[in-house]
């Protein structure tokens, strides 16, 4: 039926979009948004009441943020790679500015300065930094591979060091790890020898050890994961209880009790709420959707012959996948408890826009590029020339 909306020969913007965009991935992302509204609706009222807010405070705000996020996602997916590159450049510039600003005027929350107030919204610049950084570093790395003599790898590394040091200054270990993972994935895709990647990995682990000894709150969180008896594990133990309680089919929508006792039930532990109320099958369906998005994206890239697209999308997908794994892994105590939202599902306010930005870029960059666009020259499209060769190879 949907195919009936646009004919294959439709040459309008929307028609081209429909036939080139990754429709299954788009469907999966929309499904996540719908599930998110459902779960925030059931998980957030007790949290809101505890904070003396009105019962549906978070639900209303979630929908309020989600609607622009949806348009952002769709709008970006219409864009060409070149436009994506431009948008990313602007956003990265703004968010680096924001990261610097945050150090001086940020609101301190739980021992770290991460938030900045803008037009009445609390915005975390690092959220917007991640996808735009992925696009920019992908561009530099792909330029380096395709244009001999261009020192893209050093520019990308420099950019990486700048954003990471800004993140460490906040301090925000979670974001640092995610950013490092993005860059690591891109370096890996860009074809750096594996030993360099291993060295970077070891360096990352060493950095984590350093953080362990430098940052008390990070140290205590690791200690609690490694030895649950050593300290307060309240949220995680409640979360595990929720999974056991949920069983196969769950206790029923709205019937869960874990949300009554977990302070972050609507955000960092929404997966536990889902498992308790709907059971194992539902938890696995959510997990399956994330896995599908990642695998679908990677599959799509392996058909692509645009190195820039591969690097940018690979980086963003790594970020997206890592965030979902960390959230779900924390709530089943397979990872140290790290407050990370479940993309598109958790209540997250402005971070919803950041994730919509990221996935909008993925949709844009994974669109099947019509041959006609190949002829366009310029720095961005330079990689597109290789397309015909690759297709013959495939």
């Amino acid at each position: 039926m949907a195919n009936g909306m646009f004919s294959r020969t439709d040459r309008s913007i929307l028609g081209r979009w429909w036939w080139t965009v990754d429709r299954p991935m788009l469907a999966a992302l929309l499904a996540l948004m719908i599930l998110g509204v459902m779960l925030v609706t059931t998980a957030s009222p007790p949290v809101a009441l505890r904070l003396n807010l009105s019962e549906f405070h978070f639900v209303i705000r979630h929908v309020f943020f989600l609607t622009p996020a949806l348009f952002l996602l769709l709008g970006l997916s219409l864009c060409s790679p070149r436009a994506i590159w431009r948008i990313a450049t602007i956003i990265l510039g703004c968010s680096i500015l924001g990261l610097i600003l945050v150090l001086f005027v940020g609101n301190e929350v739980k021992g770290a300065q991460r938030w900045i107030s803008l037009f009445g919204f609390s915005i975390q610049p690092s959220e917007f930094m991640k996808p735009s950084f992925a696009v920019l570093s992908a561009w530099f790395l792909s330029r380096w591979r395709e244009q001999p003599g261009f020192p893209g790898q050093w520019i990308a590394t420099g950019l990486f060091l700048i954003v990471v040091s800004l993140l460490v200054l906040q301090p925000d270990i979670g974001m640092t790890v995610v950013t490092a993972a993005i860059f690591g994935a891109q370096v890996c895709l860009a074809g750096f020898p594996l030993w360099i990647i291993c060295a970077l990995g070891i360096g990352g682990i060493a950095a984590l050890f350093g953080a362990y000894f430098m940052l008390p709150h990070f140290q205590s969180r690791m200690d609690r994961f490694l030895d649950p008896a050593s300290g307060d594990n309240y949220q995680v133990s409640k979360s595990l209880e929720a999974f056991r309680e949920g069983g196969l089919m769950g206790v029923g929508p709205g019937q869960g009790e874990v949300k009554l006792s977990i302070p972050d039930a609507h955000a960092d532990f929404i997966y536990a709420v889902a498992a308790e109320e709907m059971g194992m099958w539902f938890a696995l369906v959510i997990l399956g959707i994330y896995a599908f998005i990642i695998m679908r994206g990677l599959k799509r890239l392996s058909d692509s012959d645009n190195l820039f697209s591969i690097l940018a999308t690979g980086g963003i997908l790594t970020m997206f996948g890592l965030q979902s794994v960390v959230h779900m892994g924390s709530s089943v105590n397979a990872l140290p408890a790290k407050g990370m939202t479940l993309p598109f599902i958790s209540y997250g306010g402005s971070s919803l826009w950041a994730i919509a930005l990221a996935m909008g870029m993925v949709l844009a960059l994974t669109r099947r590029q019509p041959r006609t666009s190949v002829a366009k020259g310029g720095s961005i499209a330079r990689g597109f020339f290789a397309r015909s060769d690759a297709q013959q190879g495939a």
């Binding site: 056991r244 696995l284 896995a291 990677l298 892994g329 089943v332």
Partner: protein, 589 residues
């Protein structure tokens, strides 16, 4: 710098073709895909593990309770088994109650919560509660075992930081009545004394109630009469035992002063002390039951054999006196009935040191008593048993045993001469009158003839001797009084006595032993200043028998004088009215 050159080399190597860069990227995409597959599989496996293996399966197997224990070690409360008396009357039971604890981290306004709590729960002091609520940590007990009403009031407060744990409170519906036998437990339900302690593991497992041999009705009678004797003679304390001499079952056992097992922490050490099995005392003349039985059984003398009690007996630097010197030779029944120390000492001398010590050993006087509670006193006997020890041990001095020792050993003698083992645990399907197969002892202590003679002698003590106040018409009580001086600072103190009476009835076929001991009684006008076993304990035992016999459905059997057991002993008694004291006859049975 070498890194830079190597990177450059690497770049040059790959730069040959864009194609190779893309191929490389496609290969690495697979690598990343594999990495994510592993991560998602691990999380998925963990989800299945938690929900299915740890969530659903335990519920299917019905082991949710065990699971709860595993996840929350503080909720190890299994319903502890009840303890009942022989008729099923509850002596100890467990009630499910809620205990209040606080999670200080969830309490935002400790001042307000503490104020509300001190209003809602009696006994919650504001300052103390406030201090607890402000502590660091996530768990602090506020009050154990709330009443439902208290719990309701706290629930009404709706404070998320106040939470409940289900616990089981031990309830002793009979209060202090059988406190020392049943025992008590800690707040955490661990048995600390009595049956609660010795059967702690069994009771902790829950299940069927544990039935004791006690009969709460007899327990009440015994405690009442013992208490009355203690009050009447302004004594410090006392002990009482009722035992079925056929089965060895303890039907009642009381130790005074006693305590409320609900709140043992409020009791003094004296109250908690078990006088029946843990305390050891010099028993005094009740010990003569054993020295006399030893003589009759080992030497088989005629009852007419006389002992010279006219003057105090000097052995080494010790001198043995009689309380009421008769200053003349006495026959065995006379020595027993007047409770002559000199006569008994001479009997002990006849039995000999070896013989008497072995006899005491055989009837269990030298070992802790064999009973199912842990509070048992070890008898105090001379380490080096010399001849003087034999003389004093024969009339109950220089050796200390628990009241239960006396009751059990004397029961063995009067029941026919075979050893009886006292017990507190009711054998299944056993009621009054049924024989306890396990207690059909084959261990013979004395011959049936000796047993019969001892019954005669003990009946004589009640008809003509020191314990006339113990008689209950129709129930033909027999027994032996005991009055021991307490040792104070290593010397016998004439003013501080332990007075006791051990009675049996009906004497022609003894069924029940009733023992009462009173610690430091003081003579009254009514007793003409006497505080001996005959004046203090004998009437109390008589009162117990008078109440318990009809309760147990025993018909009184009044006997003619010539049918009475003691009648055949009359010829061995000197007629006190005759000057010079001639023996009436010398005929033997």
């Amino acid at each position: 710098m070498s890194l830079v050159t190597r990177l450059r080399k690497a770049r040059l190597r790959i730069e040959g073709s864009k194609r190779s860069a893309l191929d490389m990227a496609h290969g690495r995409l697979t690598l990343i895909g594999l990495g994510f597959s592993v991560l998602y599989l691990i999380v998925a496996a963990r989800v299945v593990d938690l929900t299915l293996l740890q969530g659903v399966l335990p519920r299917l197997n019905g082991t949710v309770a065990e699971q709860a224990i595993e996840t929350d070690k503080q909720q190890i409360a299994v319903l502890r088994a009840d303890v009942t008396d022989r008729n099923g009357v509850l002596l100890a039971t467990s009630l499910e109650t809620a205990s209040l604890y606080a999670d200080p981290a969830l309490i935002s306004d400790p001042v307000r919560v503490a104020a509300a709590l001190s209003k809602a729960v009696p006994g919650a002091v504001y300052g103390e509660t406030l201090e607890k609520l402000q502590r660091k940590g996530r768990f602090i007990w506020l009050k154990r075992n709330l009443t439902p009403e208290e719990q309701y009031r706290i629930l009404e407060m709706g404070e998320p930081g106040l939470q409940f744990k289900t616990e089981y409170k031990r309830i002793y519906p009979q209060g202090e009545l059988a406190a020392h036998m049943v025992g008590y437990g800690s707040v955490d339900g661990q048995g600390l004394a009595g049956i609660e302690r010795s059967f702690d593991e069994l009771l902790a497992k829950g299940g069927k109630p544990l039935a004791l041999t006690l009969d709460i009705r007899l327990q009440h009678i015994l405690r009442r009469e013992t208490d009355r004797a203690i009050r009447e003679f302004s004594a410090r304390g006392g002990a009482g035992v009722i035992m079925d001499v056929v089965t060895g079952e303890i039907l009642a056992a009381t130790s005074l002063p006693d305590f409320d097992p609900q709140n043992p922490s409020a009791a003094s050490p004296e109250q908690l002390f078990n006088n029946v099995t843990l305390g050891v005392y010099e028993p005094g003349s009740t010990m003569k039951i054993f020295s006399t039985a030893a003589l009759l059984d080992l030497k088989n003398p005629g009852l007419g054999m006389t002992f010279d009690t006219s003057k105090p007996l000097k052995v080494g630097r010790h001198t043995i006196h009689d309380y009421h010197p008769e200053n003349r030779p006495m026959t065995i029944p006379e020595v027993f009935m007047h409770s002559s120390n000199i006569g008994s000492a001479l009997m002990g001398q006849m039995v000999g040191t070896e013989g008497l010590r072995n006899f005491y050993k055989d009837i269990g006087m030298l070992d802790p008593v064999d009973i199912e509670i842990s509070e048992k006193g070890r008898p105090l006997a001379p380490a080096q048993w010399r001849d003087i020890n034999t003389l004093t041990a024969a009339f109950g001095h220089g050796i200390s045993v628990s009241p239960l020792h006396i009751v059990a050993a004397a029961s063995s003698i009067v029941r026919g001469g075979t050893l009886v083992k006292p017990t507190l645990i009711l054998n299944e399907a056993q009621a009054y009158g049924a024989k306890n197969a396990a207690n059909e002892s084959e261990i013979r202590i004395v011959s049936p003839q000796t047993s019969h003679r001892m019954r005669q002698l003990m009946r004589l003590v009640v008809t003509d001797g020191t314990a006339r106040q113990a008689d209950v018409p129709g129930y033909n009580v027999g027994g032996k009084t005991g009055t021991a001086e307490k040792i104070v600072n290593g010397r016998y103190d004439r003013q501080k006595k332990i007075s006791s009476f051990l009675g049996f009835f009906p004497m022609e076929a003894p069924r029940y032993a009733v023992f009462i001991m009173v610690d430091e009684p003081k003579g009254t006008k009514k007793s003409y200043g006497y505080a001996t076993g005959g004046w203090v304990a004998a009437p109390a035992v008589g009162a117990v028998i008078g109440h318990m016999a009809p309760l147990l459905g025993m018909e009184p059997h009044p006997l003619n004088e010539e049918d009475d057991l003691s009648f055949t002993l009359k010829p061995y008694l000197h007629d006190k009215k005759e000057e010079g004291g001639q023996l009436a006859t010398f005929t033997t049975e």
